[in-house]
């Protein structure tokens, strides 16, 4: 069965690729279509120029050693080797990974709960939805600074609560680990509404009659959720997780504003290397490429793993 599908897919892929070329050929024979291509060309060029070129250039630069007053020299993968052996970089990767996993999982769990609750019709649904979005509407830097005040040892409410609950012995912001978890809390507080809204949009397009049919067949609430809601929500989940994961993976402003430039993430590592340091430009650039490539992989995983079936079918 699987073999058959694979074969069919391969067979259908080949003529399709040939089709692109022959279609292009055909299109160019047609004057009207040819004009259309010419008219699109400038935009296409612009996209290549501002999208592809800087990325390619950054990748190219990451193979050079660039120092002040020195001609750049080609060093192959040395920048990447240096980068991976830099303990600061490894710390940044670890911080970013922990932050991404924790915040995305928590936001998804809370988000789907809120979306399900909001999806039930009740009085004042519209205003509740609007109110739930308030934290998301705050600029990240503003909420980060606001939460920093609450985490601060001198008069911060969160610091007080953490102390009373015996969660932490010392000041929150003086411990790197505690600051990282504090940042996760802020991100969950801020971005859960956004996830909920995306999922809610997904929920609202699920036809009500599917549930009706399920009830007629005797499905209980859990079965309805796991067999109907979740599968039909998959595209929305894929989009929400993709957005959030990529966003969390490149976290910058939240970390630096909340920790006062002490908590290191991948993006802050890039900034320090490229903007502050004079000798580590190459490492910063390599790290930027690393973020780009890992983001591509993450996007690929989410689209392949969760999205394509339903979106491809549609």
């Amino acid at each position: 069965m699987a073999v058959a599908t694979g074969a069919r897919a391969r067979k259908s892929a080949k003529p399709k690729r040939a089709g692109v070329f022959s279609r292009l050929k055909g299109d160019f024979a047609n004057p009207e279509r040819r004009t259309a291509y010419y008219m699109v060309a400038p935009v296409l060029l612009l996209v290549l120029l501002i999208g592809l070129w800087p990325v390619t250039y950054a990748i190219y630069l990451s193979f050079l050693k660039i120092l002040p007053e020195t001609a750049p020299s080609f060093v192959g993968l040395q920048n990447y080797i240096d980068m991976f052996s830099d303990p600061t970089f490894r710390g940044a990767v670890l911080n970013t990974a922990v932050f991404t996993v924790l915040s995305v999982v928590l936001e998804f769990v809370f988000g789907i709960g809120i979306a399900l609750a909001l999806n039930r019709g009740f009085a004042g649904q519209g205003s509740v939805r609007a109110i739930a979005l308030v934290p998301w509407a705050f600029p990240t830097v503003v909420s980060a600074v606001m939460w920093r005040l609450m985490y601060q040892q001198q008069g911060g409410i969160m610091a007080y609560i953490a102390l009373k609950l015996n969660l932490i012995a010392g000041p929150i912001l003086a411990s790197e680990q505690a600051t990282l978890f504090a940042a996760v809390i802020v991100d969950v507080w801020k971005t859960t509404p956004f996830v909920a809204l995306l999922l809610l949009a997904g929920l609202q397009v699920i036809p009500a009659d599917t549930y009706e049919a399920a009830r007629v067949d005797g499905a209980n609430a859990w079965q309805q959720f796991s067999r109907i809601t979740l599968p039909l929500l998959k595209p929305a989940i894929a989009v929400a997780l993709l957005f959030r994961t990529l966003d969390a993976w490149r976290v910058y402003d939240l970390f630096w504003a909340m920790s006062d430039r002490t908590l290191e993430s991948l993006s802050t590592y890039v900034f320090k290397g490229v903007r502050i340091s004079q000798v580590d430009f190459s490492l910063g650039d390599a790290a930027a490429v690393f973020i780009f490539l890992t983001s591509l992989v993450l996007a690929f995983i989410f689209l392949k793993g969760l999205g394509t079936e339903s979106s491809g079918g549609g």
């Binding site: 800087p54 002040p68 007053e69 003086a174 502050i276 430009f281």
Partner: protein, 452 residues
Amino acid sequence: MTARIGNGRSRAVTRRKFLKTTGAGVAGATLLGTGACAGFTPSVEGSAGTLVFTHGPDDSGNKTKWIDKFNEEQKGKIVVEYREMPADTGQYFDKMRTEFQAGGGTTDVIGGDVIWPAQFAANGWIMELSEVFTEERQADFLEGPLASGKFEGGIYGVPWYADAGMLWYRRDLLKKSGFDDPPETWDELMEIAAKVQSESGLLYGYVGQGSEYEGGVCNGCEFVWNGGGEILDPNDPTNIIIDSPESLRGLEAEALLVSEGITPLAMATYKETESLTAFKNQDAVFLRNWPYTYAEIGDPATGSTFDPKTVYDQVGVAAIPVSETGSKSFRCLGGWSFLINNFSTKKEQAWEFIQYMTSPEAREFFAINESNLPPEKSFYEDKALLKKQPLLEVAGAAVAATKPRPVHRFYSDMSLKMAEEYNESLKGETEPQDAIVTLQDQLSRIAQTKTG
């Protein structure tokens, strides 16, 4: 006036040179960076007689007032335009560096941080001044501020005003607990702080700046120096010598303050404001802070809980403690210097302006109105001036014992590493010994970076 214009360096910035000197822009912004750069020839904005001077915000308006006077005197010849820069020295530095990388920028005179001259001079961005700022003229200057402007045998900065780390202490409470004199060593400080804390019921014994930023570097360097250690070999800028028992002793003293409970662990997040607030709230026995503390503690409008009438009897100033009795106490040098843009077309006028800003009248004006500490010795012996600005009397000894942070072309890289390690060692997340070894290793890598 015969200031030689230029030093033969080419002014046009080629793409290759741009890459060489800067390392291009952010990956994403590379396009913008090079785009803006290609074919950019430095030019000076405004009319022929306009001299652009950059410095941080002029909150009190005194700087503008003094510059206006200059403009009045020089009417028809030079007009100085004061261009305000960010108050944050890191942002200001970044802005200047970007301007230079883009081909020289539009500034003529820079009022720059004392840690900048070496970094700018190494790239040929600022002018060597020994022809006009002669050794004879340098004679009256204090050693620390002057040293910050020197790089590879040349002099690039004219000190404007100096800042120095100082130990502020509660003279009244020390006396109450039976101590007539401030501590000379860290051991004494811990003993005094513990006794005063318990007898007078104060929250903290000692507070300073421990956050991971430039101020934390200043505090950390003071601990290293006052332990008897040194960071950069003064005779060889490629040689890092921080890995020594003396440096270790210094950092251990700092870590001990925290582990003994004399200093709150929260000091690892303190900048100037937090530490000064603790002192102004009368929560701390000792405070390490800059000279501006003097005005702040006496002004209830800043939130000080001291009585302005008695505060200067209650609070005293002492040398920053050392690890071993009798060794010299160093205080980290802060402050600002005048630098001339090497790409400027008005270097003679620029020098004229600097002379005006560093004249005895200007020194007095800024000392009295801005509490700026003059970088020349003679002012601290001027009885009439001391009467008008008592801070000079209080801070004189501190300014005379200042030491610049490592003067190196890659100082900003060194600062990043020091900020991180000093902070972690203070928090106890890294043992002082490990912090020293890491710094020896990482600073050496930076210092030995081959260029040219």
